[in-house]
C-alpha cells in the first residue's frame, strides 16, 4: 500500500476525532432498577464451599447462591435461625446435633434438597477443604434416618459447631451438579439460595440472577452483579457516578475509609451504612518472654494506661471505630460489662507512678513496636508512639510486610506488636481459644500466653460446654482474668462500613461473618 497524503490524513483525522469528540454515555443505556451492582476490590477466591477459606468476597457470593442449615438472624446477629433446617436439638453431652430439614426445597438444577445432600455436602467439604480441619473435622458420623432428618455426631462437645454450620464452608451443594460438573463445579456453583449463578468473568464480574422459586420467596432484585475494581479511587468515582450501587470495604487489613467518609458525608446520592463488628485490633505484649521489663504486669498495665483510647477513636478514626475493653467486643453475646471497669484507663500520671513502683525507669524501656504495613496501621502506631513518649518511653516503629511480619510474630522475635483478629465464625471461641490458649501460642499470631493450667483448662471447658448459661459464665471469668493480666492493650474495633447509592433499600450490614445477604434488598 502506498502512503498517500490523503489516506494518511483521513486516518489521522479519524483517530484524532475519536479521541476528542465528546460522546454522551450515560444516556444511551437505561439503568435497570432491578439490577444491583456491587463493587469489590478483587476476584472471589472460589465460588463454592469446598474451597472457601473465609475469604470475604467469595464467602458473600456463596451465601447468596447457597443456603446453610442455620444462619444468624438480622439485625442483631446474636441468635441463630433455621434456614434449610427448620428445627434442631443438641444432646445433653453436647456431641449430637439432630436437625429437621425443610421439605420441598429444590436446588437451582431442579433436583430435590434432602438429608443425603446435607451429608454429601458436609463430607465433601471436610474432605477437600483443609481450612475446616479443626472444626468440621470434629464430625465422627453423619446419619440420615429420613429424607428430612440429619444427625451429626462429634468426637467431643463443641457448641460453636452450630456457628460453623452457618459458615459458607458448610453451605449445602447440589450433589447432582457436583457429579455433573466435577472439578468444574467451582465455575458452576449450584445451591438452593436466593440467587442462581449466571456467569463469572475473571477480573471482570460475577453475575447472579434471582431464583424466583426461592423457598423464602423470590428476591426483590432480578440480578446481582459483583464488579471487580481493584483501585479504591476508581471504586469511589464509580459510586459517585452511579456506575455501581454499593462499594464494600473488604479485606482484613484494609484502611478505614475516612477519606471516603468525608467525601460521601455531604453527598445526598450516597448513604453510609455502618455496623459494629467483632474485629479487635490490639497492642500485644509477647507474654511468653521470661525476662525483660514486660514480664512485670505493672509495666504492662502502665503501658496500657498511657494510651488515650478515646483520643485514638476521634483523632485517627473519626467515628469509624468503637472502643473495645477486653478479649471480646461489646456486641458479643458472651461479653461481660464488668470488663469495662477492670480494663486499664487512660491515666498518664498513674502510668508513670506505676512504673516508678515497679522500679523501672521509662528511659530504659525503649522498645520496638512492630506493625502491619499501610497508612492506617502507621497512624495507629504513631499515635501509640506519641502516647508512650508522654510517659517517657521511647518507641521505634517497625512496619513490616504481612507475610514476613507473620513469620517474625509467630517466631516470637518481638516484645510489643500491633495485631488484630477478625473472627471467621460468630462465637467467642473464635477470639479466645486461638488468642489465649497457651498450647496454641506458636500456631498463629497470638498473645503468646505462657502456660497457665488454670486459665487453659477454663478456655477448653468453655469451648466444650453445652449449656449456654454455664458457657457464658465461663467466658465471663475468662475475660476478667485475662484483662487483669494485661496481655495487651485493646485499642479499637473498626466498624463495618458499606457505601450505597441512596436508592438502595433493605440492606442489613452483618456484624459477624458470614457477610451480607441481598435477598431482601431492592432499588427504588
Amino acid at each position: 500500500m502506498k502512503l498517500t497524503r490523503r489516506l494518511f490524513g483521513a486516518f489521522s483525522g479519524a483517530a484524532l476525532g475519536l479521541a476528542t469528540v465528546p460522546l454522551s454515555v450515560q444516556g444511551a443505556l437505561a439503568q435497570e432498577a432491578s439490577t444491583l451492582v456491587i463493587a469489590v476490590p478483587s476476584d472471589p477466591a472460589g465460588l463454592e464451599p469446598g474451597i472457601n477459606k473465609a475469604e470475604p468476597i467469595g464467602s458473600e457470593i456463596i451465601l447468596n447462591v447457597f443456603d446453610t442449615l442455620v444462619a444468624w438472624k438480622a439485625p442483631d446477629f446474636a441468635e441463630l435461625e433455621g434456614r434449610l433446617a427448620t428445627d434442631w436439638t443438641v444432646s445433653e453431652d453436647g456431641k449430637t446435633f439432630d436437625f429437621t430439614l425443610r421439605d420441598g426445597v429444590t436446588f437451582h438444577d431442579g433436583t430435590p434438597f434432602n438429608a443425603e445432600a446435607v451429608k454429601f455436602s458436609i463430607e465433601r467439604t471436610t474432605e477437600m477443604n483443609p481450612y475446616v480441619e479443626a472444626t468440621l473435622g470434629l464430625i465422627e458420623s453423619i446419619e440420615t434416618p429420613s429424607e428430612t432428618e440429619v444427625v451429626f455426631t462429634l468426637s467431643r462437645p463443641y457448641p460453636a459447631f452450630l456457628s460453623i454450620l452457618a459458615q459458607p464452608q458448610s453451605a449445602i451443594v447440589s450433589p447432582a451438579a457436583v457429579e455433573k460438573f466435577g472439578e468444574d463445579f467451582a465455575n458452576n456453583p449450584v445451591g438452593t439460595g436466593p440467587f442462581t449463578f449466571r456467569a463469572y468473568q475473571a477480573d471482570t464480574r460475577v453475575v447472579l440472577d434471582a431464583n424466583a422459586d426461592y423457598f423464602r420467596g423470590a428476591p426483590k432484585l432480578e440480578r446481582l452483579i459483583y464488579t471487580i475494581i481493584p483501585e479504591a479511587s476508581t471504586r469511589r468515582l464509580e459510586l459517585e457516578n452511579g456506575g455501581v450501587d454499593i462499594i464494600q470495604q473488604a479485606g482484613q487489613l484494609s484502611a478505614v475509609p475516612s477519606e471516603e467518609m468525608a467525601a460521601f458525608a455531604d453527598n445526598a446520592d450516597i448513604q453510609i451504612l455502618e455496623s459494629p463488628s467483632q474485629i479487635i485490633r490490639q497492642l500485644e505484649f509477647n507474654n511468653s518472654l521470661t525476662d525483660g521489663p514486660f514480664t512485670d504486669v505493672r509495666v504492662r498495665r502502665a503501658i496500657a494506661m498511657a494510651i488515650d483510647y478515646d483520643g485514638l477513636l476521634s483523632g485517627v478514626f473519626d467515628g469509624t471505630a468503637e472502643r473495645v475493653y477486653g478479649p471480646l467486643t461489646s456486641n458479643s453475646w458472651a461479653f461481660d460489662p464488668a470488663v469495662k471497669d477492670l480494663a486499664p484507663k487512660y491515666d498518664p500520671e498513674g502510668a508513670k507512678a506505676l512504673l516508678k513502683e515497679a522500679g523501672v525507669d521509662p528511659a530504659d524501656l525503649s522498645v520496638k513496636l512492630y506493625s502491619f504495613q499501610g497508612a492506617l496501621w502507621g497512624a495507629v502506631a504513631t499515635f501509640v508512639q506519641a502516647n508512650l513518649a508522654e510517659i517517657g518511653v521511647d518507641v521505634e516503629i517497625a512496619q513490616t510486610e504481612f507475610p514476613s511480619y507473620r513469620a517474625l510474630h509467630v517466631a516470637g522475635e518481638w516484645q510489643m506488636a500491633l495485631d488484630g483478629r477478625q473472627p471467621w465464625y460468630n462465637d467467642p471461641d473464635a477470639h479466645v481459644t486461638i488468642g489465649y490458649l497457651s498450647s496454641l501460642k506458636d500456631s498463629a499470631m497470638t498473645f503468646r500466653m505462657p502456660e497457665n493450667s488454670e486459665l487453659d483448662a477454663k478456655i477448653l471447658e468453655a469451648q466444650g460446654e453445652a449449656d449456654m448459661e454455664a458457657r457464658k459464665a465461663l467466658y465471663s471469668e475468662i475475660q476478667k482474668e485475662i484483662v487483669e493480666d494485661v496481655p495487651g492493650a485493646y485499642l479499637f474495633s473498626p466498624k463495618l462500613i458499606v457505601f450505597a447509592r441512596s436508592n438502595v433499600d433493605g440492606l442489613v450490614v452483618n456484624s459477624a461473618p458470614p457477610l451480607n445477604e441481598y435477598w431482601s434488598v431492592s432499588k427504588n
Binding site: 479519524a14 443505556l29 473465609a54 481450612y131 476508581t234 504481612f402 514476613s404 513469620a407 477478625q422
Partner: protein, 336 residues
C-alpha cells in the same frame, strides 16, 4: 529469509530458559509465602501447613523447578494457586483484553504521532512546532497513572462523557466469544453494546497511546528534519517534484524506518505499562492479572505471565527486524 527466521526463533529458547530460571528464583526470594498470603492474618499454622501440602509448596525448590520445566515441555504452565485453574487458560483468557487496548493504542499513536512529527518537521520553529514540543514533552514525562486519574476525573466525573472503568456497561450482558470486547459486542447484536465497548476503550487507550504518540512524534520530527537535509531529497526537488511529493513520497518512507524500531520497542514496553493502566481502569488484561498475582505470591501465574511477556517482547522485536527487511533492501540482503 526462512533460514533467518528459524535461526532467530531457535535463539529465543535459551533466552526464555534464562528468563524462566531468573523469575522462578526471584518469586521465591520475595519474602512471604503464598499459603500465608492466601489465608490472611488469622490463620493457624496447621491450616497453613495443610494448604502448603495441597499446593505442593512443601517440596524442595529444585524439585518444584523440575516439575515446572517438565510440565512446560508439555505446554503446561501449572495451576494458579489462587483460582486452581490452569495458568495458560487464565492467561489466554486475559490476553485479548490487553491486546485490544495495546493494538488500539499503537494505531492511535501512529496515526496521531506520525503526522504531528511530519508537520512539526516541515514547519520547524513555528508556533505549531513549539506547541507540539510542549505537548509531547508533557506526554513523555507524565506518569501513566497520573494521566489516567486526571482523565478519569475530567471526562468521567466532571463532564460525565465517558465511563470511569471497565470494558462495558454493567447492565449489558455480552457473551465472551473472542475475548475482544468490541468484537463480542458486535457479535452479540445487543443494542448499545458496541457503543458501550468503544466508549470504555477511549480513556485507557488514550493513556497508553499518549506516551507512544509523544515519543513517536518527537522521533519522526527529528529523523524527518535529518532526511529533508539529505542529498537525494534535494535531487528530488531539483528534478521538479513538488514539496508535497518529496515529503510524502520520498522522505517519509525513509524517516519511518527508524520509527518502526521505536514503535516495536515501545509496544513491548507498553505491555509492561499496561499493568498500571489496567489496574486503574479495571481492565481485565494480563497486566492487572500479574499485579494481583504478585500481591498474592501466586508463583505459577507470575512465572507464566512473565514468560508470555518475554515471548511477546521477543516476537515483537523479531517482527520489527522482518519489517525492516521488507522496507529496506539493504537489510534484506544481509539476512540471507
Amino acid at each position: 529469509m526462512f533460514a533467518f527466521l528459524v535461526r532467530r526463533l531457535l535463539s529465543l529458547l535459551p533466552v526464555l530458559a534464562l528468563v524462566l530460571v531468573i523469575v522462578f528464583s526471584l518469586v521465591r526470594l520475595i519474602p512471604g509465602d503464598p499459603a500465608v498470603t492466601l489465608l490472611g492474618p488469622g490463620a493457624t499454622d496447621s491450616q497453613i501447613a495443610a494448604l502448603r501440602a495441597q499446593l505442593n509448596l512443601d517440596e524442595p525448590a529444585l524439585l518444584q523447578l523440575w516439575h515446572y520445566v517438565a510440565g512446560l515441555a508439555q505446554g503446561d504452565l501449572g495451576v494458579s494457586l489462587k483460582s486452581g485453574q490452569p495458568v495458560l487458560d487464565e492467561i489466554l483468557l486475559r490476553l485479548p483484553a490487553t491486546l485490544e487496548i495495546s493494538i488500539a493504542a499503537v494505531l492511535v499513536a501512529i496515526l496521531v504521532g506520525t503526522p504531528i512529527g511530519v508537520l512539526s518537521a516541515t514547519r520547524p520553529n513555528s508556533g505549531f512546532d513549539h506547541g507540539v514540543r510542549i505537548l509531547s514533552l508533557t506526554g513523555v514525562s507524565m506518569p501513566a497513572f497520573l494521566l489516567a486519574l486526571l482523565l478519569q476525573l475530567i471526562f468521567a466525573t466532571w463532564l460525565g462523557w465517558l465511563p470511569v472503568s471497565g470494558r462495558m456497561s454493567s447492565y449489558l450482558f455480552v457473551d465472551n466469544v473472542t475475548g475482544f470486547a468490541l468484537i463480542d459486542a458486535w457479535l452479540s447484536g445487543e443494542e448499545g453494546a458496541v457503543q458501550s465497548a468503544l466508549l470504555h476503550m477511549i480513556l485507557p487507550v488514550t493513556v497508553l497511546a499518549a506516551f507512544l504518540a509523544a515519543t513517536l512524534g518527537r522521533f519522526v520530527r527529528a529523523t524527518m528534519l535529518e532526511t529533508l537535509g539529505e542529498d537525494y531529497v534535494r535531487t528530488a526537488r531539483a528534478k521538479g517534484l513538488s514539496r508535497r511529493e518529496v515529503i510524502y513520497g520520498h522522505a517519509l518512507r525513509t524517516s519511518l524506518l527508524p520509527a518502526i524500531t521505536v514503535v516495536g520497542l515501545k509496544f513491548a514496553e507498553m505491555l509492561g505499562g499496561a499493568i498500571l493502566t489496567e489496574t486503574i481502569f479495571s481492565w481485565p488484561g494480563i497486566g492487572r492479572f500479574m499485579f494481583e498475582a504478585i500481591r498474592n505470591r501466586d508463583y505459577p501465574v507470575i512465572q507464566g505471565a512473565t514468560l508470555v511477556f518475554a515471548l511477546l517482547f521477543m516476537l515483537t522485536s523479531l517482527l520489527v527486524d522482518i519489517l525492516y527487511a521488507v522496507l529496506d533492501p539493504r537489510v534484506r540482503r544481509k539476512m540471507r
